[in-house]
Subunit: 318 residues, 2 copies
């Protein structure tokens, strides 16, 4: 907040649109480096204007291509777009095996587009809060739309995508994806469903399946919103205008119905919980590394104490 | 622990092998019902003899069929087998779309086999600790092998599978699964790799790919253990003997090298952290539901306070 020093300089630089400063801040936030705290607080207060759009679905469904096409569509309206892409890759294989982001290179010279790939945090968690923080930073920088793109359909993706105001769930024909989507609980959180690669065999079948699952009440719809099931061929740009219209329509619906404000409150609750859990994990990890913690761990390993009661002791000590 | 009352009766009934009592206890543990605590503590102290085998991999790789075949192989040696199957299904679609467990019905009359499907806990988490607790209960009941089977390759699966002494990672040809396996960080935690459905085209290719990734150091191997890459056709029983031998061989290796004890310590640390995080999440969730918490949430939603500092306030209050 107020006062001099490098930290508020960093916040000011980010607000001016300095991408290098933004990149530095995002690294602090990903690493949970305390130097990121004050600038983030300042930026958070300036955020809340961007439309956060989550795009998720099983690997191979063509999410990146779709996000790419959607970004181009937003740019044609002059809207500035930030993309936060989450690839929970392993620390060993890194991003090397994922060429996803290579295609986006035609945006790299466009000052109205910024792309941030979130690195894996390994088993320590923390990627969900860091993803949201990146979205907030781009929001405060003045990007109109922040797309949060996640690969996969697990609990982590659900956690990440919950901070978006509009959630687009992408599937493709012929992979049993509807089952994966159901398993991941994405039916409940999807506001718009897309069958991508819709020129392939089985597109109508999966589309009907999603529609009937939605009709069966798999979806807990916000009042007055009936999630559309769209077909796209992202690589050809087909269906992208309709998707764009649905995304914009959903935002209008949220604002007109007052659901946007409600959503902000429920997202705030979700993010506070994420932050708390992450902080508790970090502090507990530190405490278990000391001599007292080591003894506690050995007691549990030796079956002299169970983990739940050890966790209660540990919580008291923290 | 000691003393009379229904709780220690429950523990005693479970130790006697009463499956209905075990089922009741497992429901308490899944629901985090306090009535489960004392019986669990008593059972935990009696546990530690079973071999915990984790089986994970992408959906469709045939894990259930493989676990089924492996179970039959263990039974032919007279070993008692418990299977804890985690299907993180949505609360809406439930287990209805997953017919996975139907095939296991030929075991249902065998008193040497028990199967427990873990229900989804939704976004509240908690499934990882509950899965481990189920394994502990079966361990204390005298089952020799407890197989923990998870569908998927996300962070949740990695969290769940980390409590196993031996981790089997299953893939299949032609789905780009090696990428999913890498993304999920399963290369680091796999002790045995299986290419199932190995009669399909592309089996050799994926096998070589896994081998070369392992050779490239994607794996952080415990001293002296080189993870084998096996081929199976589980539906035909092919390769199951070799898998069985590898699982047994890995346990022998762990015990002979002293790694088993080390593993117990690192698993204990992991489970304590899980329990602590889960308890923190629950308590925070409760606190946020009260008037003080509601105000805090609205402050964050209104951008008057950021989530991280709200989480710090909340932690102080808890």
């Amino acid at each position: 907040m107020g006062g001099g020093g490098g930290r508020s300089d960093l916040a000011r630089a980010v607000m001016r649109g300095d991408r290098r400063a933004a990149s530095r801040l995002l690294s602090f936030l990903e690493d949970r480096d305390p130097r990121g705290r004050a600038p983030y607080r300042a930026l958070y207060r300036r955020s809340g204007r961007a439309h956060l759009v989550g795009v998720t679905g099983p690997p191979g469904s063509g999410k990146s291509t779709l996000v790419d096409a959607l970004t181009r569509r937003f740019r044609s309206d002059g809207r500035k777009v930030a993309i936060v892409a989450v690839d929970p890759t392993s620390p060993f294989t890194g991003g090397a095996i994922l060429g996803d982001r290579v295609r986006m290179s035609d945006h790299t010279l466009d000052p109205g587009v910024v792309i941030r790939s979130m690195a894996s945090r390994g088993s320590m968690g923390g990627i969900a809060p860091a993803t949201y923080q990146a979205a907030v930073v781009f929001d405060a920088m003045g990007f109109d739309t922040v797309v949060i793109e996640t690969v996969g359909t697990g609990q982590l993706e659900t956690d990440i995508i919950r901070c978006a105001a509009t959630v687009v769930v992408v599937t493709m024909p012929g992979t049993g994806d509807e089952v994966q989507v159901a398993k991941a609980g994405l039916f409940e959180i999807g506001d718009i469903f897309v069958v991508n690669k819709a020129d392939r065999e089985g597109a109508d079948a999966i589309r009907r399946e999603i529609e009937s699952m939605l009709a069966l009440g798999a979806h807990a719809p916000p009042a007055g919103w009936r999630p559309p099931v769209l077909s796209t061929v992202a690589s050809q740009g087909e269906g992208v205008d309709a998707l764009h219209a649905a995304v914009e329509g959903h935002l209008r619906h949220l604002k007109a119905s007052g659901l946007h404000r409600e959503g902000e409150v429920s997202r705030a609750r979700h993010i506070i919980l994420q932050e708390l859990v992450e902080a508790a994990r970090e502090r507990a990890h530190g405490a278990l590394a000391g001599p007292w913690g080591e003894r506690l761990v050995r007691d549990v390993a030796g079956r002299r104490r169970d983990a739940a009661s050890a966790a209660r002791l540990l919580a008291k000590r923290l």
